[in-house]
């Protein structure tokens, strides 16, 4: 019988105003979103918010006691800093509950200009040690850190004891295998940067090639990322989930990771015990139906765990990419 645990905040993705309303109604405690430009890490066509959208969405969410967090979590290249400054100005003007920042210059601007604007440190800042987190807290008054997905739950608990701010941890969704904010693989193949342009594997560089017997080859730029036999569930080509050959292997293999999704539902009690304040669900690029299903399921699960009941999470597995899931680095050091 599990003990009652402090109920963490459930932080949910909103790629569009409609998805935001869906997440709020499905039980999110907070939603996170971005503007329609390179200032956030999901800069995809058809996604994200205009300033008017954001104003209306903040009203909608606040009326229902839900927080709105604005992701301004990419890295402005010199010469374009103004766009990020504008995004911070928008965060302050629209009354969002926090801005999620990664770049030190952007964080510095926000902290100096809007001392009352609450700042969260994005996972893109890659602050994984107590010292790194303390550096950001002391420099910019960061109130919450979104931890990189490279730590075990045990390590998260140790970090919690050594830092002066709250912890938010990813619990569900698509995971990149590389340390966040420190990966230029996609730029290497496509010429568009995850850090500077806010996009990994841009659709314009993705190619699907079928042959006569129904096999499908996926490419990013000129590089083959994977190949699927007729009927296999073909994944979207991202470099860290591709299949490659090397001298030490006779057969091509997933050199970085199999195409799996992160699902920490089984670790929820451990994460809550580790002192995690907020649980984050990935997926601003996902449909409203997906958001509704995942948010509702996690709402139930978190409430059950918080009141000491056993959570039933089987229905979440069906939502994961290719129906396969992992606890990634969180579960055990053996994953590394």
């Amino acid at each position: 019988m599990a003990e009652a645990l402090r109920r963490p905040e459930l932080v949910c993705p909103a790629g569009t105003p409609a998805a935001l309303r869906t997440a709020v109604e499905a039980g999110a405690d907070a939603v996170y979103c971005g503007l329609q430009n390179a200032t956030n890490a999901r800069n995809f066509p058809g996604l994200n918010f205009t300033v008017d959208d954001l104003n209306a969405s903040v009203r909608f969410a606040h009326d229902r006691n839900t927080k709105v967090l604005l992701a301004v979590n990419t890295f402005p290249p010199a010469g374009k800093f103004g766009l990020w400054r504008d995004a911070i100005d928008v965060a302050a003007a629209t009354g969002v509950d926090a801005a999620i920042v990664a770049d030190m210059g952007v964080a510095d601007y926000a902290a100096q200009t809007y001392p009352s604007l609450r700042l969260h440190l994005s996972v893109q800042a890659g602050a994984s040690s107590p010292e790194a987190i303390r550096f950001y807290c002391a420099s910019f008054g960061i109130k919450r850190v979104v931890l990189p997905r490279i730590l075990t739950v045990e390590e998260i608990a140790a970090v919690h004891r050594q830092i002066p701010c709250e912890i938010e941890a990813f619990v569900f969704g698509n995971i990149g295998l590389m340390a966040e904010g420190r990966c230029s693989l996609s730029n290497f193949a496509t010429g568009q940067s995850t850090n500077m342009d806010g996009v990994c594997s841009p659709a314009g560089a993705v190619h699907y090639e079928g042959d006569r017997v129904g096999n499908l080859t996926t490419r990013l730029g000129p590089f083959v990322i994977d190949r699927f036999t007729n009927g296999e569930n073909a994944g979207y080509p991202t470099i860290c989930k591709g299949r490659y050959g090397c001298a030490a292997r006779n057969e091509p293999y997933y050199a970085f990771e199999e195409p799996v999704s992160l699902n920490l539902s089984a670790l929820l009690p451990d994460l809550m015990r580790a002192g995690v304040t907020a649980l984050k669900i990935e997926g601003r690029q996902r449909s409203r139906a997906y958001v509704k299903q995942v948010v509702s399921a996690f709402r139930r699960a978190v409430d059950e765990v918080a009141t000491g009941r056993n959570a039933a999470l089987a229905d979440l597995i069906a939502l994961t990419e290719g129906h396969r899931q992992t606890e990634g680095a969180f579960g055990s050091k053996r994953w590394r």
Partner: protein, 306 residues
Amino acid sequence: MALTASKKSEITLGSVLFNWPAERWRDFYFRIADEAPVSTVYVGEVVCSKRAPLFAPFMPEVVDRLKAGGKTVVLSTLSEVASDKDRQLIESVCAATDHLVEANDASALYALKGRPHHVGPFLNVYNEGTAAFLVRGGARNFCLPPEMPATAIRNLSTQIRHPDITVEVFAFGRVPLALSARCYHARAHGRTKDSCQFVCEDDADGFALNTLEGQPFLAVNGIQTLSYEYLSLAAEVADLRAMGVSRFRLSPHSCDMVAVTSIFRRLADGALSGGEATAMLRASIAERLCNGFYHGKPGFACVSTD
């Protein structure tokens, strides 16, 4: 307006990113100390804290020999910090107050704040706001992220122009592209990071990952992923000088690095043209060269500047 380059060009040598056997590592630096025309040499483990104890016994004599050779020694720190072992390594390197230290992660910035230090290519310094903030904390040299295009390098370098601050670019070697919690060297051999048995020692320049079509694509070095191609900004040195970039970092590989440093030194002195230097590098490196990031193209691309 044409900018006059005010600082003397310096050729620097980055830390060895790969796991070279300790004696080979020592002998490499001895030869650099005696023969290479470089002003600054970065030394220390950047990729995996498990490797640091392997060459630690040779560290004092390497540092002494480099200094005797007239080189400035900068101690470089780990790029990814997760375990207590990682943190201890950062702490011990930053405790060496008689040396300049290069921070490659915010953990090191925490330890170095208020004292002059370098900022390495693994820290995200993309703009003037970040650079100005770090300068207030003691940063004196920035080695920019290798994916930065010329336009951003020019804007940044122009805006932080200051007699005491230098800008450095990664100018030669496989391009660092990503870091991970997981060791891909161990994974390729069916092991994990904890049970790796230092299998990365077998690949002096990393090992190649090829696509399903057999096309060389990336190179793996423990938790780090690099380009398969070797970056060369030899043809871009003159433009970079005009932008105010004064330091050019060469990343050590198993090829003849004394020859590579000499090529860049002669290039910076005007004794070789960019085209001549590129041709010489091409003759001594088996892999293709690349320079795409600088030109705002995919990183693997090789853009001709003729």
